[in-house]
C-alpha cells in the first residue's frame, strides 16, 4: 500500500524553502517562482495517492516542480534545448584545466558565490540538470523523468553545465584545496 502523504502545514513549511530556492535559481524571478511553487502544491494534493515513497517527499516534490518549470519553458520559449538534438562534443571544447597556479585562492564562500552567479550563464536545461543531480542529489534516472529527457541528453546537459561552472571558478582564479 502506498504511504499517505500528509500535506500538513508543517510539511509545507519545511519543504517551501527548498522549493522556492530551486524555483528561484531556475527562473530567476521571485514572482514566477512563487507561482510555480503554488502550482506544485496543487499538483501534490492531486497526486498524493501516487506517491510511492521510493524517494523522499522533498525529492518527489522537487520532481513535480521541475516538470512545472519545464512546462512553463515550453509555453514561453520558442526553442528549448530538449527539442534540438544535442551536438556532439568537440574534442577541444572541454580541454583539461591548466595546472593550478601556486597563488590560486582558496575561499569556499567566494567559490559558492561564483557558483551561484554562474548558474545564470547555463542554459535552462543545463541549470536544471545540475540543480537536480548535484544540488538535490537526485538519481539520474529520476532527473530524466522530472525533466522529460533521455539519459543520453541528461548526460550531455550535466557534462556541459558542470564544466561551465568549473570554468567559471577557474576564470575567477579559485581552485580546489591542495591534494583534493
Amino acid at each position: 500500500m502506498a504511504p499517505a502523504v500528509e500535506l500538513t502545514e508543517e510539511t509545507i513549511r519545511s519543504v517551501e524553502p527548498v522549493l522556492m530556492g530551486f524555483a528561484l535559481r531556475q527562473v530567476r524571478r521571485p514572482d514566477l517562482a512563487r507561482d510555480l511553487v503554488q502550482e506544485t502544491y496543487v499538483a501534490v494534493l492531486e497526486a498524493k495517492s501516487r506517491f510511492e515513497g521510493r524517494s523522499s517527499l522533498r525529492t518527489w516534490m522537487v520532481g513535480i516542480l521541475s516538470r512545472k518549470i519545464v512546462d512553463h519553458y515550453r509555453r514561453t520559449k520558442r526553442e528549448l534545448l530538449m527539442d534540438v538534438p544535442p551536438e556532439p562534443d568537440s574534442p577541444t571544447k572541454f580541454a583539461p584545466a591548466p595546472p593550478a597556479a601556486p597563488d590560486r585562492r582558496l575561499d569556499e564562500r567566494q567559490a559558492m558565490a561564483v557558483i551561484e552567479r554562474s548558474l545564470e550563464s547555463l542554459s535552462e536545461l543545463e541549470r536544471m540538470a545540475v540543480l537536480l543531480v548535484d544540488v538535490e542529489h537526485m538519481e539520474r534516472a529520476e532527473a530524466c523523468n522530472a525533466m522529460g529527457v533521455k539519459p543520453t541528453h541528461l548526460r550531455v546537459l550535466l557534462h556541459r553545465g558542470r564544466h561551465k561552472l568549473r570554468k567559471a571558478l577557474q576564470d575567477a582564479e579559485i581552485g580546489p584545496p591542495e591534494g583534493a
Partner: protein, 71 residues
C-alpha cells in the same frame, strides 16, 4: 590508452560512477600519468562538491521581479 580529450568527455560520468569498469580503469591509468587531467578531475569534483553544499535558498535579493523576462 585514452587521450586527454576522451578523458575530459568522460570525467562527469566517471564522477557519478556512470562508466564501465574497463573505462574507469582506463581513466584512472590516464590520470596517474597526466597531471593536467588530474587537475581537471580535482577541479570538476570540487565543483560538484560545492554544488552539493549550496544552501536551500539563495541569498536575499536573488533574482528580480522583472529579471530574465520570458521571450
Amino acid at each position: 590508452m585514452m587521450d586527454c580529450d576522451e578523458v575530459a568527455r568522460n570525467l562527469s560520468d566517471a564522477l557519478d560512477g556512470e562508466v564501465s569498469t574497463w573505462r574507469r580503469l582506463q581513466i584512472r591509468l590516464h590520470l596517474l600519468l597526466c597531471p593536467p587531467c588530474r587537475t581537471a578531475r580535482s577541479a570538476l569534483a570540487w565543483t560538484v562538491e560545492l554544488l552539493g553544499g549550496l544552501p536551500d535558498e539563495p541569498e536575499a535579493g536573488f533574482g528580480s521581479e522583472e529579471g530574465a523576462a520570458d521571450p
